[in-house]
Subunit: 357 residues, 2 copies
């Protein structure tokens, strides 16, 4: 077999409001599996062909799909995605062709793969490609942007490096049943903090309290006054707010924050699809309470990658940390999997399994 | 002379909007200058009577005068001021009576004095009282919350400790002709940054460019679009924004900020008297550009006090740093001096001279 038909997902137009399935289409392209080594020194022509197995579905991708693409183009994670263009994301797959000396057919790898059946990894994407440690007996999906991928690094780095916790700190986690929030809450508990999470369904709230060991949890959709809800759950105030929503909840959290409180922002999902939901935090409180609000991306945490990965592997092996996954099957399920993130339909890390091998 | 009639300023009611002169009144009280040493060990009964010479007039005081007094009561700087109560502020004066072993009649001191002719310094206020170094040949007003008092410490600590500058950073200072802003801009220039300030009159803008060495300056009242104004003055983006206004300017600064930009908030004057002016910063940009927004108070910088004071004294002696002062005369001028801060009528540090000696 020298060529295959590669199916992959694209957007059909820019998406400036809430996404829906009709914003996406499946394209097909013939791909040669037989790659030829290029003349020495021309590194950019080195190609690794990967058969994709698991790809990560993350809400931040919406920012790449907007007409006015986020950021000033200096941040690769937010690089604009044009309609019709293949969509890269974290993923796991098996090498089926390679001109790269370090990767050979049959290797299991993680890296920047596309929402498609095959990925031609080349150029700058090669720097993210890495062989999986097959001695670890974890599900491969953990490496597809999950607990052993970008979500894990985001949670670990965001909590330890940005929030700078102290034992006993009162920690509030929004979207606590999501891919990042579920890990932040567990890292915080393991570190010795008091942790309250919120989520949007009873099922998710039960998961936080019964399975993930949160001290408490509540359904924010059942609260008419977020300010007084937080006052009820944090009678002694909040020290750390791990935010990924922005909007009204950020305002309420600032109001309930303690002196020297820290807010880490890893996303602003309520504002991704609706500018009118922008938070108006009380900056007078930010001054008097000396609050720090800080945005971050997981790419900033490469300096603590080894610490994060070794700590997390041990926690997973001892069973102290649980990876919550929400896996759909088949390339065709990607558009719905993505759109569902904005409807709150996922529980834990959203992943699509494209092939078993 | 054993007693004097002490005149002092009070508020007549809480102030929840923009302040005006009618919110204030002058009270009189008879004060004994003859203080008696109390039984040993009862430190709280130790009193130092100070004849006030200069007192500082600062916008943050408005927050203490509101019905809903700012903060949760844990921050002494924001302690509520009841109508009829003497108003404490930074000041300089001469001791005219003392039961304190370290202060004697005739000493020049700085500390928390009242907007009045005399202050009975006792209890917790004693910890702020300190003798002035009379070997320094600076005007006494410098110590009344000015360049050698809280404004200086706010500027120095806010810039070096919160903003963490690097040489060559592009720095934007709001209210750059004010007590804190004028010092921040000069510290930043001396450190090797590119500094642009804004202010609300041509006179102030000229001061920044012609006297204080700012690289550039503009009148924000003459700009119809703050976003494009900042783009014009910072074609390479802003690294540090020293904010003390909040509102629209904060939004525009965030939009024009570089990756890893820092916003330090030492006040939010536009929101002190009008909640509707609250900023809605683009938190998506805060995430992608990894911006840090941090509130602070000068009391947090006591650990770098010695560094600040010795550095600043040298800069003042060499003439590299200029203290811009705006001094009114007489206790009766205090209400207008305060109200004028909110009308932008001051240039530099606002101080009232109550007595010459």
């Amino acid at each position: 077999m020298e060529t295959v038909t590669n199916k992959y997902v694209v957007t059909t137009s820019n998406i400036d409001g809430a996404p829906n399935e009709s914003n996406f289409a499946i394209c097909e392209q013939v791909v040669s599996l037989k790659v030829l080594r290029q003349p020495a020194g021309e590194g950019s022509d080195i190609v690794v062909v990967v058969k994709n197995m698991y790809v990560s579905i993350d809400p931040y991708q919406i920012n790449r799909m907007k007409s006015y693409s986020c950021s000033q183009g200096t941040v690769s994670a937010a690089a604009a995605l044009l309609p019709g263009q293949a969509i890269n994301a974290s993923g796991v797959g098996r090498v089926v062709g390679s001109t790269h000396p370090e990767f050979k057919e049959g290797d299991l790898v993680s890296g920047a793969l596309i929402w498609g059946e095959y990925t031609l990894v080349k150029g700058i994407s090669l720097q993210w490609l890495q062989k999986l440690d097959t001695n670890l007996s974890f599900p491969l999906s953990y490496f597809a942007g999950g607990v052993l991928g970008s979500s894990g690094l985001t949670a670990y780095g965001g909590f330890f490096k940005v929030c700078k916790p102290k034992k006993g700190d009162k920690v509030f986690v929004f979207a606590a049943s999501g891919s990042v929030g579920s890990l932040v809450g567990q890292y915080a508990k393991l570190f010795g903090c008091y942790v309250v999470g919120c989520a949007g369904t009873k099922q998710k709230v039960d998961l936080l309290k019964d399975e993930l060991g949160f001290d408490d949890a509540f359904n924010y959709k059942q609260e008419t006054d977020l300010n007084s809800a937080l006052k009820r759950y944090f009678p002694e105030g909040i020290d750390i707010y791990f935010d990924n929503v922005g909007g009204e909840m950020l305002e309420a959290a600032i109001n309930n924050m303690n002196v020297f409180g820290r807010v880490s922002l890893c996303g602003v999902i309520s504002e991704y699809t609706d500018d009118s939901k922008r938070a108006k935090p009380d900056m007078v409180a930010v001054v008097y309470k000396r609050i720090k609000i800080e945005g971050f991306l997981s790419v900033d945490f490469m300096d603590i990658y080894q610490e994060y990965i070794s700590t997390t592997i041990i926690y997973l092996q001892t069973g102290e940390l649980k990876a919550v996954e929400d896996i759909s099957d088949g390339l065709d399920s990607i558009p719905t999997a993505f759109v569902d993130l904005f409807r709150g339909n996922n529980v834990g890390k959203k992943i699509v399994r494209i092939s078993q091998d």
